[in-house]
């Protein structure tokens, strides 16, 4: 007769096992969704930079000329409130356009992440996601790493992503606590955080897809499929406006000097 003592699973342990499986499934989805969002954001960033370089820069030039026209007209009529308002408005618009151009990062040409880079990012997001934190200090640490990871992904920097993952694996925050009861509470909270984050990702994706930038990107892509470059055509249109504005500025100056 065998004299074996088998340990029975306690209700807490059973629940813990279920919750762990639930969390693992959610973490997988979270990694996937974070990847989707980061890819979408990065693609929009690249498009935005391209738009600004090709079309935005023309608007900056146009706005500057229009501001000069408005200021020249104001010099002719310095006490006229309408001219004062128009000059202020035009100058502020020109300055804002210039400022917007200043925010565009150089060197963003295209974003085509490889499958292996996506896989790595998915893994990083799954492991270090801030919504898996158990306290504020851990959350802060995770947020910092996640920001670095997002940046590395957008830059296509595999080594940096691997280093971030290694840094996390070695950190004390990656070590889990003990005790079934405490662990269960932690798991329930983590699940709630992850579900909340998944909802937020969904919302952000919806907002991005409703943005003017995405609408413009889609139009550029549709036209590109027919062998045309919509951004260049738009730049051409704004150039036409610039030529007209330059003429107006000349006339305004001529009137002043006459």
């Amino acid at each position: 007769m065998k004299n074996e003592i088998t340990k029975r699973e306690t209700p807490e342990e059973r629940e813990l096992r279920k919750k762990l499986a639930e969390l693992a499934e959610l973490e997988g989805r979270l990694g996937e969704k974070e990847l989707e969002l980061a890819t979408f954001r990065a693609e929009l960033n690249v498009f935005e930079a391209m738009y600004m370089r090709i079309v935005g820069v023309k608007y900056v030039e146009l706005d500057e000329i229009e501001a000069k026209i408005a200021e020249a007209k104001l010099r002719e009529n310095p006490y006229d409130k309408i001219f004062q308002e128009e000059a202020t408005k035009a100058r502020s618009r020109a300055d804002e356009s210039k400022e917007a151009m200043g925010q565009i990062e150089e060197g963003i040409e295209e974003f085509k992440p490889s499958e292996s880079l996506k896989k790595l990012y998915r893994e990083v997001a799954k492991r270090i996601h801030p919504d898996l934190a158990e306290d504020d200090s851990e959350r802060l640490k995770r947020e910092e790493l996640m920001a670095k990871a997002n940046r590395a992904y957008q830059e296509g920097d595999r080594e940096k992503l691997q280093a971030i993952l290694a840094e996390w694996e070695d950190s004390p925050e990656s070590v889990k606590g003990k005790g079934a009861g405490a662990e269960l509470v932690r798991l329930i909270r983590k699940i709630a955080h992850v579900e909340n984050r998944l909802r937020k990702i969904e919302m952000e994706m919806t907002q991005l897809k409703e943005s003017d930038l995405y609408e413009l990107k889609k139009k550029v892509e549709v036209v590109k499929a027919h062998g045309r470059d919509l951004l260049s055509e738009m730049a051409e249109q704004v150039e036409g406006k610039i030529s007209n504005a330059k003429e107006s500025l000349k006339v305004t100056k001529r009137i002043r000097s006459a």
Partner: protein, 187 residues
């Protein structure tokens, strides 16, 4: 999270919002420019049934207002020679033809001759004008007719009666290649 970090973040929010908003203005202007360029002439030739043609034109005008300035060239009588004449003298963007109503001057009178004439006309128009052709028909019942008409040159062939949604989908697909933003000035 430290108090200092929280404060720094709170200070950053209005700054970031402003940055986003001024960039968004430049992007909105670009999108408005695209929309303004999209309002361009769209000439549609319809023939074969005056009432149906008028209904289609009115619907198109309503749906595409702001994007296209739709002009409908409606022909009451469907002489093949008149279709070719209008295609020759106007820059038609889309042809909507009720295929079985087209009248030919040919002496040949059999059904198959009529079908042959229709197919020849489609081929001629496709080769000469290269613009989308939507073929509507009630006759012949021959199930292969749709394929033959497409092979001859029609982009899409729809049996009547059809649902408006189906027609609109077909019409949209004809518009995509000609969505020539920025080229309208050269027309």
């Amino acid at each position: 999270m430290s108090k200092e970090t929280n404060e720094t973040r709170l200070q950053l929010i209005p700054y970031q919002n402003r940055q986003l908003s001024i960039k968004a203005n430049l992007i909105k202007r670009g999108l408005d420019l695209v929309y303004s360029l999209e309002t361009r002439p769209l000439k549609v030739l319809l023939h074969g049934d005056k009432h149906l043609s008028q209904t289609i034109v009115e619907h198109l005008k309503l749906i595409y207002q702001g994007r296209y300035n739709v002009t409908g060239f409606i022909m009451e009588l469907s002489w093949a020679s008149e279709i070719v004449y209008l295609a020759e003298t106007q820059t038609i963007d889309v042809f909507i033809l009720i295929l079985n109503n087209i009248i030919f001057t040919s002496e040949k009178r059999s059904s198959e001759d009529h079908i042959e004439n229709i197919l020849n006309l489609l081929t001629l128009m496709r080769k000469t004008y290269g613009k989308p052709i939507i073929g509507l028909f009630t006759w012949p019942d021959d199930p292969s007719f749709e394929k033959r008409a497409k092979d001859a040159g029609a982009d899409i062939v729809l049996r009547m009666p059809f649902k408006w949604e189906a027609f609109q989908k077909v019409f949209e697909s004809c518009l995509i290649p000609q969505n020539e933003i920025g080229r309208s000035k050269s027309r």
